[in-house]
């Protein structure tokens, strides 16, 4: 099966029913998407497919064959982070950091489509994402910082 991830094409030999998350983290050894609940409840496994933030833990790999998949690694690197990642770095918006994959990618996909979203709309867009360290104050500050720059 052929997967397009972060601009590269990979051939993987897996059961088509395998959740996309396992293929990304085990077969491609990507570290961005994470297993949080396996139930699509927390957002830790989020990836962007066709501009949509989806939950890779409940997405069979077969269903995204050939589609362009973007993971957290696909946005930027430590040396050259994406502006949204940079905003999170500037705001030091993490504690353990396990959830930031879901937070950053969900915000990114939403703001790509809604660059002029209000604070309330952004909050609403993130209502299905969790952070158990409760780094909410900094995360929203980072997202607002980025959103303002995008809207300009």
């Amino acid at each position: 099966m052929t997967l397009k991830v972060n601009g590269r094409t990979h051939n993987v030999d897996v059961d088509p029913a395998t959740p996309l998350l396992y293929v990304l983290s085990d077969d491609l050894e990507l570290r961005g998407p994470k297993f949080g609940c396996g139930l699509g409840q927390c957002g830790a496994c989020t990836v962007i497919v066709k501009g949509q933030a989806i939950r890779s833990c409940v997405t069979p790999v077969k269903s995204v064959e050939g589609a362009e998949i973007t993971t957290l690694e696909g946005l930027g690197t430590p040396e050259k982070p994406h502006p949204l990642q940079q905003a999170f770095i500037d705001e030091q918006a993490a504690q353990c950091g396990f959830c930031v994959n879901g937070v950053i990618l969900t915000a990114k996909a939403f703001l790509d489509k809604n660059p002029k979203a209000s604070e309330q709309q952004i909050q609403q867009a993130l209502s299905g994402v969790m952070c158990r360290c409760f780094t909410h104050v900094r995360m929203f500050r980072a997202i607002e910082r980025y959103a303002k720059a995008v809207a300009r």
Partner: protein, 772 residues
């Protein structure tokens, strides 16, 4: 060991294992032995450490300087996401007068780092930043470097200064020598000198300033290696099959039920431990799902709706008396008014964002284990027991897991991975399912707490009694008790025994780790007042009983529950005395630091001084403010209570915090902000639930944590810096006081007092209807 840590070792120019053995290593020659006794006290019980651990009283156990001048710090306190590795890096850089990025910190690896017990209980800051351990080792190293430089430069120590890893003669800066030239790649071979002088806070240039966490760029870009991302050559994937009910035991396992699962390597059964190993994670998940296990029924559970009465009446008990002035009954008899109230706290869970995970490679009589455990040495010792190996043959390497906030599934999943790897003879990665994590954690303790106090005619408190009941079972595994967590128990180890004790012995020393002594008590033990308050007639008695569920430390264990009750009760007393809750607190507080924290928070919040409740209509949205404090944190909140729906919305949080000298102001703020909101989630929604056989709060639909999308309150933190005081912990401050502040704000807004956590809309509505 992470790749950058390995690079740091390489740069330092030696093999760490060889280095720590005296023989063979190059040693710096000192003309004067550094005034050292062998038993230099390194934080009491860790002076010796586990057998085979680098000795805590030796400088070389804590710091090494490479030939290029690169500095490596070694710590037994790990980065869980709380920011301590950044602060420790600042500490090493400060004491050795080098820039922050010259220092690499290696922590919690049984091959390399000293045994500092468990990274828990807000003890990392006090353990490593005061007069022992990492701070004192670095101060000793600094003095040694100055002595060596004095010889080499032919100038007295007092004429030298250090900057950027270079020591020079102040009067002629061209006369200088680098650390690398002085000791590079060699051992100090020096005991930690308890008299070595720490750099005074007034001279700090790295400590005390906001430092950016070095791990954050990798975290934000998906490059950071969590334990979940450890991949070893030939690694297989395991899953466990936990019992369907509490106390259920294995009767038989039908291996043929999974014979068709592709990639299945092995079904593993050891007493009541059941697991599967497969080539791929998805295959392991399917095998675990399909495996037919015939379980004997569970032992049954007490009814949740009657659980708090069950706890209060349970026998036997283990009793602890913290203070007792022996005159409480008499003073209560003489009081003008006696006030009584009972507060209830549920079991709550750590509920880590990612389920717990570990990777183990057990080959013959040796094991290498990557674990998110908070105690690598404890894990080494107990994993050895579970595997039947010698502890010295088990190498435990800490890798960060998802934030744990205490004893989550980290230790138990490490045993899971080790057992499955041993059975398969290959490296095995295990990550728990959400349900397995939530149904079998060591929960934070449930509590029943009675408060009773007497007021005189002027409303002053003349006597107060605090009495609590809390169920316990299991704990951290420690060095010898793998049965304290579920996997250890399933393979046949027992949890630490419950030893009844009643009546409680008289207190011999003041110990308020549990916050069982309210802040307003004089805390008189052994003829001395050790508390922070003025109340002389005082009694605090705690009872433990046996829990049907596993329990263990969850952020601010016991402290959060006791303080919730006491700080709500203090508000009830203030209301009874018709006094402003802040003024009333100050009237009964003697400790200047706690008073200042309280005054600072209320001043910043522009506290509206008046008695509670505020006159309000009994319908629609009512707004109130609440306060709570405990040594040394105070919090003020503002909240809306929707009296039609029972929903509580916290709008503003002001938190003043005094943790001694501030090492990293931004890190401290992050802890206070996160703690306040996590405490808010615990206060408003979080509760473990169960039926007659099993836990039923097993995912995020049934255990109610606040998601990102709620209307986040405005959070303001006031950091009170105390450069001349001892460093204390910061992670368990805001979280300890916020539940009471919310409860007090609900009372202020509506006149309804809720004495049971969580403050769900149903409970709020019930309390509102009960108003007279």
């Amino acid at each position: 060991m992470t790749s950058d840590a390995r690079a740091a070792l390489d740069r330092a120019g030696f093999s760490r294992r060889d280095f720590l053995k005296t023989s063979g290593a190059l040693i710096v020659g000192f003309s004067m032995a550094g005034a050292i006794s062998e038993n230099a006290d390194a934080q009491g019980n860790f002076a010796g450490g586990a057998p085979g651990s680098p000795p805590a009283n030796q400088v070389d156990s804590w710091v090494a300087i490479g030939s290029d001048g690169a500095i490596t710090g070694y710590s037994g306190k790990e980065e869980l996401g709380q920011g301590i590795s950044t602060a420790q890096t600042q500490l090493v850089a400060e004491e050795l007068s080098v820039p922050f990025d010259r220092v690499k910190l290696i922590y919690c690896d049984t091959a390399y780092t000293p045994d500092q017990g468990v990274t828990s209980g807000s003890q990392s800051h006090p353990a490593n930043f005061n007069h022992n351990n990492l701070a004192q080792a670095c101060a000793t190293a600094r003095e040694a470097l100055f002595r060596l430089a004095a010889e080499r430069l032919g100038a007295p120590v007092s004429d030298l200064s250090a900057s950027n890893g270079v020591i020079s003669v102040k009067a002629r800066p061209s006369s200088s020598i680098t650390y690398g030239e002085l000791v590079g790649g060699r051992k100090f071979n020096l005991a930690v000198d308890p008299k070595a002088k720490r750099k005074p806070a007034s001279e700090w240039t790295v400590l005390g300033k906001p430092a950016k966490r070095p791990d954050i760029p990798a975290v934000m870009t998906g490059q950071f290696e969590f334990v979940h991302n450890v991949r070893l050559p030939g690694m297989l994937h395991g899953r466990v099959v936990r019992p369907p009910a509490v106390g259920a035991t294995v009767m038989s396992v039908d291996e043929s039920s999974v014979k068709d699962v592709p990639g299945l390597v092995k079904v593993v059964v050891k007493k009541n431990f059941v697991g599967v190993v497969a080539q791929k994670q998805w295959q392991a998940a399917q095998a675990a799902e399909k495996l037919k296990v015939n379980w004997a029924p569970g032992t049954g559970l007490p009814k949740q709706s009657e659980f708090h009465d069950h706890v209060r009446n349970q026998k036997p008990t283990r009793d602890v008396l913290l203070v007792d002035s022996k005159d409480v009954e008499q003073k209560l008899g003489d009081a003008a008014t006696v006030v009584k109230a009972t507060y209830l706290h549920p079991y709550q869970m750590h509920g880590s964002m990612g389920t717990s995970c570990a990777v183990a490679d057990v080959q013959g009589d040796k094991a290498t284990i990557y674990s998110p455990t908070q105690g690598v040495w404890h894990q080494r010792s107990t994993a050895a027991m579970v595997l039947g190996l010698k502890p010295e043959n088990v190498h435990v390497i800490f890798r960060r897991g998802s934030g744990c906030y205490g004893l989550n599934g980290a230790d138990t999943v490490t045993y899971d991975a080790a057992l499955l790897s041993q059975a398969a003879g290959k490296p095995v990665r295990v990550q728990l399912t959400r349900k397995d994590e939530m149904a079998w954690e060591n929960y934070g303790n449930a509590y029943v707490i009675d408060e009773r106090a007497g007021l005189d005619a002027q409303g002053n408190i003349v006597a107060w009694e605090h009495e609590s009941w809390s169920p316990t079972l299991g704990n951290r595994p420690g060095m010898t008790t793998p049965g304290n967590v579920v996997t250890g128990m399933l393979v046949g180890f027992q949890p630490e025994p419950f030893t009844p004790r009643t009546p409680a012995p008289e207190p011999r020393a003041y110990n308020n780790n549990s916050n069982g002594v309210p802040s307003y008590f004089a805390g008189r033990v052994g003829g001395e007042n050790k508390g922070t308050g003025t109340i002389q007639s005082e009694r605090s008695l705690l009872h433990n009983v046996v829990s049907p569920f596993w329990t263990g430390p969850l952020r601010s264990p016991a402290r959060l529950q006791n303080t919730f009750a006491q700080e709500c009760f203090m508000d009830e007393l203030a209301a009874r005395a018709k006094a402003d809750p802040v003024a009333y607190r100050l009237r009964h507080l003697s400790d200047s630091r706690l008073r200042e924290a309280l005054e600072s928070a209320t001043k910043t919040a522009k506290w509206d001084a008046r008695p509670s409740p505020k006159p309000n209509s009994k319908t629609g949205v009512a707004t109130g403010r609440g306060v709570a404090c405990v040594a040394y944190t105070a919090i003020v909140i503002e909240a809306d209570v929707n009296q039609d729906t029972g929903k509580v919305h916290v709008k503003r949080i002001v938190c003043s915090i005094d943790a001694g000298p501030i090492s990293n102001p931004d890190g401290l703020k992050n802890q206070a902000e996160g703690g306040a909101l996590q405490g808010m989630s615990r206060a408003l929604g979080e509760e473990v639930t169960w039926d007659d056989q099993k836990v039923t709060s097993v995912d995020w639909a049934t255990f109610h944590s606040l998601p990102l999308g709620f209307e986040i309150p405005k959070v303001e933190c006031v950091l009170l810096n105390r450069p001349d005081e001892e460093a204390t912990g910061a992670g368990e401050t805001a979280i300890t006081v916020i539940a009471a502040a919310i409860g007090n704000a609900i009372f202020d807004a509506t006149g309804a007092r809720i004495r049971q956590i969580p403050f769900t809309p149903e409970r709020v509505k019930a309390a509102l209807s009960a108003r007279t």
